[in-house]
Symmetry: C2
Subunit: 197 residues, 2 copies
């Protein structure tokens, strides 16, 4: 019904998570109505982000530097490693302005049903990192849902035999929810109440 | 907090209508996690749509042809012109698979408060078109809200003196709503019940 380039643009928006047909149409027509500069900037931002962003050599968070801003910050305590599922979780933790340690980003959680095993996550990199740096504490801040808990338990069983202190954030974060949507106070409670596993 | 290319991508998504900060983050990280091909396709779809899409020489709908598919379709009745506000409204009308006339897309509605007067719409093109082709009927299918009604009234006052039959779609479409979100049956009722202005 739409001209092919419009249809193609709508389909591209529809591939994004949480974007249905109606919303995709609305976004596509917004682009078509927007000044050429704005559309070009958007296309460029997509290309540039994909080109410039890669994993931090230390924590595997997304960065445009060889080592991310947090890992290269001398004021941060690299001896404490907070293990999270996604870069969005790092952003959520940073928003509370309380945590001064470092992170490790798994890029997912164990989910055998979806074919996500240990090799699909950055668990090997985490093991190498803790064996090299012998951190004083590894905090499991995976999501408080089934996959997140299973991932925390799995990592705990790998890390404890290495003589490491492994803790889990408290269930201040609502069970079944996503860490990403927790507010700063809830996250702070969760961090304060963390207990050894 | 995010690396600059990520922040820039998030900001670009935030400029889209109805997309807040959280959703923009979600979309940006989806792009960053997606295969390079998919991101490149999306950027390309934006650029190509902006490059290839322009106004149909007849009805002012968006098209990648000199004249759009509807205006160049010999099976459609060019002597009936359905005046709508946006290309999305054309798509909504076409979804009912009942209307076999042509369209005229105004690209907005009269809204003096927002600085949208007759010159900001494609009203001049509509007048030239009806003077050239003398259509048998001009159907006002602008939105059933204040601006849409005012636009229909304004156009009626311009077109009736030219001896044209001007009709308004019936208020089957919910008053205060957007034509774009009307279902096929409601649109059909609205078309069937159209009356002369």
């Amino acid at each position: 019904m739409h001209a092919p380039p419009i249809e193609r643009l709508i389909e591209q928006f529809e591939r994004l998570p949480g974007i249905g047909r109606k919303t995709a149409e609305r976004l596509a027509f917004h682009i078509l109505n927007a000044p050429h500069d704005q559309a070009a900037e958007m296309a460029d931002a997509i290309v540039q982000a994909k080109e410039q962003i890669h994993f931090c050599a230390v924590c595997r968070n997304l960065t445009d530097q060889p080592v991310c801003d947090i890992c290269s910050d001398a004021k941060r305590d690299g001896a404490i490693i907070c293990v999270v599922e996604t870069p969005k979780d790092v952003a959520a933790m940073e928003r509370m302005h309380e945590y001064k340690g470092s992170y490790h980003v798994l890029h997912g959680s164990l989910s055998p049903m979806d074919g996500v095993g240990p090799d699909e996550l950055t668990i090997g990199a985490l093991l190498q990192r803790v064996q090299r740096s012998a951190p004083s504490e590894v905090i499991m801040a995976t999501n408080p849902n089934i996959q997140g808990e299973a991932t925390a338990m799995y990592l705990c069983r790998l890390l404890k035999p290495l003589g490491l202190k492994v803790t889990r954030i408290a269930h201040g974060v609502p069970v079944g929810g996503d860490l990403e949507y927790a507010d700063e106070v809830t996250l702070m409670r969760a961090m304060e109440g963390r207990r050894e596993m």
